[in-house]
């Protein structure tokens, strides 16, 4: 069964539709409109089709987190230009899935890399487009993909990092790109805009569906829980669980601490149930039949197959020998 789910994930990844908000049928991108939703100050959430884009604008230029699908790039650029004429200098990818990186080529080409003086010549592609920043594993995944859906090399990350995080200072604020290992994939990052107090979470947090744990790409249930707990640690609300640090999810609506806590609650409660069933010797089919997600299905299980995929990935992760979370 492990092989079947991995094959399924691989197929979805190949089609660039493995994000939690991705449609599973060919989309008519002509009908998609890009909407810019103000998050706070100079940070916006761009919504179209695919993963949410977080955009930070300022005197220095524009930084965007994720790029949705390639056919939408012109519309995304137009939406950006409606807010600011400044150049796009940075693209940050939260992970490698096609609904978050498909527009890398087009959006990179619409910008340029920050350089100057004797560096202008040294950075050969500075005039070619914006810098694409991501964890090293994103580059590994994108560059090893084959087939017609594989992303052209012009859309691969140009600046990768290893370890816990990469830091930038741009548009008057510190930006932390924090790697969360083995969560949704093995290349996840969240992007924390420290002055704006906004986090772009990628698909380690969504409001529209159960977690999509891509075990074939190094994701795991345990890593997913750790990622949510890292988010909770960073978020400081104004009062109660409202306001303060805001979160742009990979898919869905702008969130605050209470929303992330509710999501973490669901992930842990369902995981505890599945763990208990595994300890009782139940097979995956028996666990599915026991419906461990039944109380959360109206909220997170609307998309066909979302609950089954979450149950299967969690079952795999929690059944794996210690040291092999997948």
């Amino acid at each position: 069964m492990k092989h079947s789910i991995q094959a399924g994930f691989a197929a979805l990844v190949g089609l660039g539709i493995c994000g939690a908000g991705a449609a599973q049928q060919p989309q008519n991108f002509d009908a998609v409109q890009i909407q810019a939703i103000p998050v706070r100050d100079n940070v916006y959430m761009l919504v179209g089709s695919g993963g949410n884009i977080t955009m930070q604008v300022g005197a220095d230029g524009i930084l965007i987190v994720d790029t949705q699908y390639a056919p939408l790039s012109e519309k995304i650029v137009a939406a950006i230009r409606a807010i600011s004429p400044k150049p796009i200098h940075y693209i940050v990818n939260t992970h490698h899935h096609g609904d978050h990186t498909g527009g890398n080529v087009g959006l990179r080409a619409a910008g340029n890399t920050v350089s100057g003086g004797n560096m202008a010549g040294a950075i050969r592609d500075s005039g070619v487009g914006a810098a694409i920043v991501a964890h090293e594993n994103v580059l590994v995944r994108l560059s090893s993909a084959t087939g017609p859906q594989a992303l052209a090399s012009a859309g691969w990350p140009t600046s990768t990092f290893f370890g816990d995080k990469k830091e930038l200072y741009y548009n008057g604020e510190g930006i932390e790109i924090i790697h969360l290992p083995a969560a949704h994939t093995d290349g996840d990052s969240i992007v924390f805009f420290r002055r704006s107090d906004v986090i772009a979470a990628g698909d380690v947090y969504v409001t529209t569906s159960y977690p999509f744990i891509d075990t074939a790409s190094g994701g795991s249930y345990q890593g997913f829980v750790s990622a949510l707990e890292r988010l909770v640690d960073i978020i400081i609300p104004v009062y109660g669980q409202d306001g303060g640090t805001l979160v742009v999810p990979g898919h869905g609506r702008v969130s605050n601490l209470g929303d992330v806590l509710n999501y973490r609650e669901m992930v842990i409660v369902v995981g505890d149930r599945i763990k208990n069933m595994i300890e009782a010797g139940m097979t995956l089919e028996q666990v599915r039949a026991a419906k461990p997600t039944v109380d959360y299905d109206p909220v997170y299980g609307v998309r066909a197959g979302a609950a089954d995929r979450f149950i299967e990935a969690t079952y795999q992760s929690l059944s794996a020998p210690a040291g092999d979370a997948r």
């Binding site: 939703i37 009062y239 109660g240 509710n262 959360y296 109206p298």
Partner: protein, 282 residues
């Protein structure tokens, strides 16, 4: 009446009644809860396993049955505020009017709840609702309108909350309609909750309050503290299905059939009394 007098009255009337919407009912002041009414849902809170009279669906019931009061031991949950569709149930509140001093237009009616001192705005100036993907909060986004002297309030953009403080969830897809109705020094607050995810039918709640001439809202500071040592990773208190030992307490204590205590739309209606007689004792 002379012609000139009639003209003056007409001019006066046009000044008085033209232009922006004026307040048609006066709710400003402090309103004290009526403690004798539905006491368990007021300060002390409901009993565990009491979902009677709530139109919750099977998914919401299952969720409530797994709920553990130990979540209050989690620092992140200690100062979690009541959502706006519940906060008035808990205790007293204050209402006041925000007027644009230049145009004299009523911009908003504001409220502060005693519970956690939360404040909310009921926008009366016709502003549009935020984008559906904008932030949702405990108070939500509320707009008001006058129906005679009754204030009708529609609230969206609520994040997940609860209908009863014992684990009965209300989803973030809910739309809440409230009516504030004043009868002299008494006020009736009615709440109508439509939740397509967790309710079989809309939920309706009434509460009554008394005007407090010299009333005040006390401070309600809340600071989270670590009260017990908890696991550091992946911990959230809950009961596994079929393992909650407290679900039967309410039914037994009040000699109500367990099935009735578990709620559902049918338990809201008078004719359910016929079915009660057919159900086994707890």
């Amino acid at each position: 009446m002379t012609g000139s007098c009639a003209v003056r009255i007409a001019v006066l009337a046009s000044v008085c009644f033209a232009g922006p919407t004026f307040a048609q009912g006066n709710f400003a002041g402090v309103w004290n809860m009526t403690l004798t009414e539905d006491f368990p849902d007021r300060l002390p809170g409901p009993e565990l396993g009491d979902y009677a009279g709530l139109p919750l669906n099977a998914a919401d019931r299952a969720r409530a049955q797994s709920w553990s009061a130990s979540i209050l031991s989690l620092p992140d949950y200690q100062c979690r505020v009541h959502p706006s569709d519940y906060a008035n149930s808990f205790a007293d509140f204050r209402m006041w009017y925000e007027i644009d001093t230049t145009t004299q237009q009523l911009v908003a009616i504001r409220m502060q709840h005693f519970a956690w001192n939360t404040t909310r705005a009921i926008w009366m100036d016709g502003r549009p609702r935020p984008h559906e993907l904008a932030e949702h909060t405990s108070m939500g986004f509320s707009t008001g309108e006058w129906v005679g002297n009754t204030l009708k309030v529609t609230t969206t953009h609520l994040k997940e909350g609860w209908l009863r403080r014992n684990g009965v969830a209300r989803s973030d897809a809910a739309t809440v309609t409230e009516h504030f109705i004043r009868h002299g020094d008494h006020l009736t607050w009615s709440v109508f909750v439509q939740d397509p995810k967790y309710l079989e039918e809309p939920f309706f709640r009434n509460r009554d309050y008394t005007f407090a001439e010299n009333g005040s809202i006390g401070a309600y500071p809340c600071e989270s503290v670590v009260e017990v040592v908890l696991p550091e990773h992946g911990y959230f208190p809950h009961y596994l299905p079929g393992n909650n030992p407290f679900l039967i307490e309410f039914a037994r204590n009040h000699k109500i059939p367990y099935e009735a205590a578990m709620g559902g739309a049918a338990t809201m209606y008078p004719e359910y009394r016929k079915k009660l007689a057919e159900l086994p004792p707890p």
